[in-house]
């Protein structure tokens, strides 16, 4: 490091040289230019994808797409299918994920078993989605003779996103202020009663955010559904098994290089609808974080300052980004 202070200490302030050498100055500018370029390389693709896909989607948009099935150049059956799958995944991943989150955070004592269960959840979150899909195909579609249908799709996608709900539940339970527990125990509540009536309620916003992350991941998945949900041009039936389900990502995946221009355009329509759904989910998650901050009964504990709340929001948004990005890409 070349010296910024060139004189020994003890001399008069006037003799101290605070100037920065040209090399250091250039190095400084070069580094920040590189960083700015990096930021540009992140923002540009986002803008390009959004403008490209949504722009093209709008230019070929017909409202009839929303009301007709794929048989007559529309995606209404796929929208219904995607929503049905989402509800199913929300149920499966919500129940299993919240339960295992509660167990890991509150009920299990630190033990080998708890560590094993936690690592199982972590390992599960790293397995490629196509492997999930293939196992679902082998066991549920072929093994149990369920055929391409809703139930295998929901189970496979649910297992795929369970670790994110578990993680969010565990994290938000651990973040419930100790004062809540102390106060409730001071009132004589039993441990489970306290958990149900005080701690879980305080953790609800975090758990909800986790479930929304799970939904945002599952709505964009294609690979695990290809060999579990199958495909159909008709609306999904009420049957859980033996009846295939159409979904939006399938439309994008299969019709994008179709020689029929009308069918090719469907893939842009479907892509646009997918982006809108995901953005709505992310917006909802942000809203939940904000509302939970506003209405949290934390006045007695000292309300955090504006900057602190902002920092907490940024942190929550950052975690959400990591989870969705990592979960989408499997």
């Amino acid at each position: 490091m070349s010296a910024a202070v060139t004189t020994p200490s003890g001399l008069s302030p006037g003799s101290v040289d605070f100037s920065i050498s040209t090399v250091r100055r250039v190095r400084n500018y070069a580094w920040w230019t590189l960083c700015a370029l990096g930021l540009l390389c992140v923002v540009a693709p986002v803008a390009w994808i959004l403008v490209g896909v949504i722009g093209k989607g709008i230019s070929v948009w017909h409202w009839s797409v929303l009301t007709t099935t794929t048989q007559f150049i529309g995606v209404s059956n796929s929208i219904v299918g995607t929503l049905v799958i989402m509800v199913g995944v929300g149920l499966v991943a919500g129940v299993v994920g919240v339960a295992s989150g509660i167990y890991l955070a509150e009920i299990a004592r630190p033990s080998i078993r708890a560590t094993l269960l936690r690592s199982a959840s972590e390992v599960l979150s790293g397995i490629p989605s196509i492997v999930f899909g293939y196992c679902g195909y082998l066991v549920l579609v072929i093994g149990l003779h369920w055929g391409y249908s809703l139930l295998p799709a929901v189970i496979v996608l649910g297992m795929l996103v369970v670790p994110y709900v578990t993680k969010a539940t565990e994290l938000s339970l651990n973040q419930v202020p100790v004062a809540y527990r102390e106060g409730a125990e001071g009132l004589g509540m039993s441990k489970t009663y306290l958990l149900r009536k005080v701690v879980l309620r305080a953790a609800i916003p975090g758990i909800l955010t986790g479930i929304i992350i799970a939904l945002a991941i599952s709505v964009g998945e294609t690979a695990p559904l290809l060999y579990t949900a199958g495909n159909t041009n008709a609306y999904p039936s009420v049957a859980l098994i033996h009846h295939p389900v159409g979904y939006l990502t399938y439309v994008v995946f299969t019709s994008l290089e179709n020689p029929n221009i009308q069918i090719e355009n469907l893939s842009y329509d479907a892509a646009m609808i997918l982006i809108v759904i995901v953005l709505l989910l992310i917006g909802t998650a942000r809203l939940i974080v904000r509302l939970s901050q506003r209405y949290a009964p934390n006045r007695a504990l000292g309300r955090p300052s504006r900057a602190e709340r902002r920092a907490a929001r940024e942190l929550a948004a950052g975690r959400m980004t990591e989870d969705i990005a990592a979960g989408r890409m499997r």
Partner: protein
């Protein structure tokens, strides 16, 4: 329940009820507190059921993911055994992929029925998986780190949070939509404007890997890697941003008070603070890039070959599973589906290895996180 903290006694019944095991035979709750006794007993029973549900239900819920994991391993292993027997080590080294002739009678070798001429070599798939992910990491890591540093260290709070939203949006875009953009917009643009310049690089080792003819729509190894890079950027950038935000301000101020430029202070303080976590995030991103399926299936050109140059078509294990399963289902000997199980097992092995590595790095980084004061330069 409308219990308020000012009435602590109202909280009592459930506790006493659960301990004593229920209502007395006369139907009165042990502690009636002036409530309607039947209602009290009912409420006590509900509390007990609720508690049991909570404790035991959550235990069951925690075991399900572990069971799913074991089930998947067992299924793949059992399913893959005949394929492993049939393919042997050649599966990892051979480049020939031939599902066999379905019109001639199946033959029998080493206890495994297979179609005549069947031979499965997965080396091109394994190489393609590793190459495309390596490109993704080489491009994605510097870009993501640079962007995160800019967001946290240079930009004011409001623009930073608006631009930070880009990361969130990029994270949320489904991979099939990124694949759509990659094959219809990004790939053709690259093939027209960027790749022609690259093909004129001198014919020396390493650089001659760039000498080839790009496809008109750009599909191939480099486009695949770049699309993967776009996809792993949010993972690395969001983690780096979170870590940078946690660096205590006083250390940065201390560094700058010593006369360092912002850059020097960054490398002396923040870079040391976040290094381990960023490496962990990069390895995590690598793991995800290895397993990405749909985007790669769309932009890679889907040719089962070891790419002779960086523009050539290739495919990855994950993409090949999607593309091959449909046709291999038709194998009357059933060997095709089993070969896919072996592919899935290989992919699982690679990604697990990388993910475990990432966890270890993150754990170590979390343990070692401390003020870099006195660490020396």
């Amino acid at each position: 329940m409308t219990d308020t903290p000012s009435e602590p006694s109202a909280e009592e019944p459930p506790r006493v009820e659960t301990r004593t095991g229920g209502a007395r035979p006369d139907g009165r709750g042990p502690v009636s507190l002036g409530n309607d006794s039947a209602a009290g007993a009912r409420r006590a029973r509900n509390q007990r059921i609720g508690n049991h549900l909570l404790v035991h239900g959550s235990r069951v819920g925690a075991i399900i993911p572990a069971l799913a994991l074991l089930g998947m391993f067992a299924t793949l292993l059992v399913e893959a055994i005949p394929a492993i027997k049939f393919d042997g080590w050649g599966f990892f080294t051979s480049s020939i992929w031939n599902p066999g002739n379905p019109y001639s009678p199946p033959s029998h070798a080493g206890g495994v029925y297979h179609l005549a001429g069947a031979h499965f070599g997965a080396w091109p798939l394994i190489a393609g998986t590793l190459e495309s992910s390596a490109i993704a990491l080489i491009i994605g890591l510097p870009v993501a780190v640079g962007a995160a540093v800019m967001l946290v260290e240079r930009l004011p709070a409001r623009p930073a949070s608006v631009l930070g939203l880009c990361l969130e949006v990029l994270a949320g875009i489904p991979s099939v939509v990124i694949g759509l953009w990659g094959i219809l917009t990004f790939g053709p643009w690259l093939a027209q404007h960027i790749y022609p310049a690259l093909t004129h690089l001198p014919n020396v080792p390493v650089l001659n890997f760039f000498r080839g003819t790009p496809a008109h729509n750009g599909e191939g190894l480099l486009t695949g890697g770049l699309v993967l890079a776009v996809m792993i950027i949010p993972i690395i950038a969001a983690t780096t941003r979170d870590l940078l935000l946690q660096v205590p301000g006083t250390t940065k101020e201390g560094a700058e008070a010593l006369g360092m430029t912002h850059t020097e202070a960054f490398f002396a303080v923040q870079a040391r603070w976040v290094r381990g976590g960023v490496i962990g995030a990069a390895v995590l991103g690598l793991g995800r890039a290895l397993g990405e399926t749909i985007a790669i299936a769309l932009v890679s050109g889907s040719i089962q070959q070891v790419a002779p140059n960086i523009f050539a078509g290739m495919t990855t294990i994950a993409a090949a599973i999607v593309q091959q399963l449909g046709s291999l289902q038709g194998d009357p000997t059933g060997l095709g589906v089993r070969v896919v199980a072996e592919l899935a097992l290989v992919l699982l092995g690679i990604t697990l290895l990388v993910n475990v590595l990432a966890r270890m790095i993150v754990r170590r980084a979390a343990r070692g996180a401390a003020l870099p004061v006195g660490a020396g330069f």
